[in-house]
């Protein structure tokens, strides 16, 4: 049996290697199909990641607040983030909001981590620079317009501590005692810091009404230790995956309440679903076309080898042996075509990814056996009918002196 099996492969390889031109035509059909199939499947699988990254340009998709309505700490936020795969975390930006004054007019100041703000809000457009050291400030466009502020200029931002505010209220109410207290030597005044304006923020949204400084500057200005009002988190996930991540955070974190930003995630899911459906449709059509092409090539190949089939039958080959031989040969070819197709498909997908999404893709090893098996199966199915028909050939045909 071993000798027979050895001979089977020897014959199959001889047929493939010594019938080069015929074999190359069939191989080309399979390789083209396998390349497009493997490439499109790679893109199909990679689209959520690629589009997820694209969607992250529209801002954070998850907001962290505290469960009990109080402020958060950085430790609590990190505890929440520990439930997310680190490779999925695009960025996290904490925000602390306080009411401060510019020219005695109240303005909302946001203390944040300036180094991470563009990761969660990449759509921010800044005239000038984002502050990168203490004493620098970013001004929302509306605020800049209201106070006629410009980049490189200085601005004095004041904060009224709680006790000063209370005294002011008492003073306004004509409280004698309070009035007396203010006249004493331990009078408390507004805190202030002179900032250098490094940039004007344009977003077209509510952000233009705020001023942005570092958490440390805001702490110094308010003289109140840093707490976090909310954190914007950008996670590279969408749809049900994102819901699962958020659910895991809410379940496992002590004080973090995570919520998806529906405005972003709903549209992301819809667009992603439509895009994937489109790619799937194209993949199925390509697969069908490949099958037709391979079947046509196989039909031509088998037809061309009718005399050989007749001869083999005349030499004593049974129908089953003819089918096994031709099928084995074509399936080998299919496997080889699948192997080449997987490699070319990856390059094809890489080309699409770089040109369309401006990022590279990672090779998925599972695609190698998958493409080879599909190529073998498609080839087998495609040549089943022509080979079956070939067994109908009468061996007597070859005896005719044609």
């Amino acid at each position: 049996m071993q000798k027979k099996r050895k001979w089977f492969f020897r014959m199959a390889f001889a047929s493939l290697l010594r019938r080069k031109s015929r074999m190359l035509i069939a191989l080309l059909a399979i390789v083209v199909g396998a390349t497009i199939l493997s490439g499109l499947v790679t893109v199909y699988i990679d689209v959520p990641r690629q589009m997820g990254a694209e969607f992250r340009n529209y801002g954070a998709n998850v907001i962290f607040t505290s469960k009990d309505g109080t402020a958060l700490t950085i430790e609590e936020i990190n505890d929440g983030l520990s439930n997310v795969n680190s490779s999925q975390i695009v960025g996290m930006t904490p925000y602390r909001y306080e009411t401060v004054r510019i020219n005695q007019t109240p303005v909302t100041a946001a203390g944040t981590d300036m180094s991470s703000v563009l990761k969660t809000s990449p759509y921010w457009s800044v005239d000038g620079e984002i502050p990168d050291k203490d004493g620098e400030i970013l001004i929302g466009a509306t605020v800049a317009q209201n106070y006629n502020l410009q980049v490189e200029k200085s601005i004095s931002v004041t904060f009224t501590p709680e006790e000063v505010a209370e005294e002011a209220v008492a003073f306004d109410n004509g409280d004698e005692a309070a009035e007396g207290e203010t006249s004493t030597s331990d009078v408390v005044l507004d805190n202030y810091i002179d900032f250098k304006i490094t940039g004007i923020l344009n977003t077209g949204g509510a952000e233009e009404n705020y001023i942005y400084m570092s958490l440390e500057d805001l702490e110094e200005l308010t003289q109140i230790p840093t707490t976090i009002s909310l954190a914007e988190v950008s996670i590279s996930a969408s749809g049900s995956d994102l819901t699962a991540v958020v659910g895991s955070i809410n379940q496992n974190s002590e004080n973090v309440s995570a919520k998806v930003v529906k405005r972003v995630t709903a549209s992301e899911t819809t667009v992603l679903g439509k895009l994937q459906a489109l790619i799937l449709l194209v993949t199925i059509i390509v697969l069908a076309l490949t099958m037709i092409t391979v079947a046509t090539t196989m039909t031509a190949s088998v037809t061309e080898r009718r005399r050989e089939i007749g001869l083999k039958k005349a030499l004593g080959a049974l129908d089953g042996e003819i089918i096994k031989e031709f099928m084995g040969e074509q399936v080998l070819l299919g496997g080889f075509g699948g192997l080449i197709g997987t490699i070319l498909g990856f390059l094809f997908a890489q080309l699409i990814s770089v040109n369309v999404f401006s990022s590279s893709i990672v090779f998925r090893p599972v695609l190698l056996p998958l493409t080879i098996v599909i190529s073998m199966a498609v080839t087998a199915v495609a040549c089943l009918i022509p080979i079956r028909n070939a067994t109908e050939i009468e061996p007597a045909l070859v005896l005719k002196g044609e």
Binding site: K3, K4, W7, R10, M11, A14, S15, R18, R19, R307, E308, L311, K312, K313, A314, L315, G316, A317, L318, D319, E321, E394, P395, A396, V398, L399, K400, G401, E402
Partner: protein, 235 residues
């Protein structure tokens, strides 16, 4: 018991009687030639003897077993066990070397054995050309490969259809010498030919016309002295 016995065999296609009540016997070790003009029924008779076709009527006994009513699969099994075929057009598989073409016949019969296949090629004088593809061989060499392929499984009958039809005189002589050797070793040969010289080398020649066996000549001592024995259409 004759090796092959055909009794009243007819092959009918609609109105056409390709063979009409043909009867003949071939003994083991005999060398028989079949002659006749085109359309006389030679190919049909060859196909029936070669187990590639079934008669419409009559019986075909091979080693006493009637193969006339067998199905395709049974006929294939008989063919690969008992018949060796030599074709006018050689019909070698073009992507297999000479030795691989011989081994192909072994593969369907039993187990491919390269050493034995090389010995068969040596018998036909082609040991040095064993690794050549058919396209690298001359017509005579291809026919010798075809003979080696036919004899590799030690068939009971070698059935040759115009074996020298496409060969020059020198190669015709080589092939006929090979047949002589095979016959001397006890192989039964049935050769279909239109060439009287080839036919005269056989022990017996059967003449077909319009599907009927019309005459038989017996070459009693292979000396070229051919004795005619008349057959009539009514016999």
């Amino acid at each position: 018991m004759s090796l092959l016995e055909i009794n009243n065999v007819s092959k009918i296609y609609g109105e056409l009687h390709a063979l009409d009540k043909v009867s003949l016997k071939v003994e083991k070790g005999e060398w028989v030639a079949i002659m006749g003009p085109s359309g006389s029924g030679k190919s049909t008779l060859m196909n029936i003897i070669g187990c590639m076709d079934r008669p419409s009527e009559g019986e075909v006994l091979m080693d006493g077993i009637d193969i006339a009513k067998m199905n395709q699969k049974e006929l294939t099994l008989i063919r690969r066990d008992k018949i060796g075929l030599v074709f006018q057009q050689f019909h070698l598989v073009n992507y297999l070397t000479a030795v691989e073409n011989v081994m192909l016949s072994q593969y369907y019969h039993s187990i491919p054995d390269e050493k034995e296949a090389l010995e068969a090629l040596d018998r036909v004088g082609l040991a040095g050309r064993a690794r050549h593809l058919p396209s690298q061989l001359s017509g005579g060499e291809q026919q010798r490969v075809c003979v080696a392929r036919a004899l590799i499984n030690y068939p009971e009958i070698i059935l040759a259809d115009e074996p020298t039809g496409n060969l020059d005189e020198a190669n015709e002589k080589i092939i006929m010498d090979l047949f002589h050797n095979l016959h001397n070793e006890g192989t039964t040969l049935i050769v279909v030919t239109h060439d009287p010289e080839v036919a005269q080398t056989a022990q017996r020649t059967l003449f077909l016309r319009d599907g009927k066996l019309v005459r038989e000549t017996v070459n009693e001592n292979f000396t070229g002295e051919i004795k005619y024995e008349d057959w009539t259409e009514n016999k």
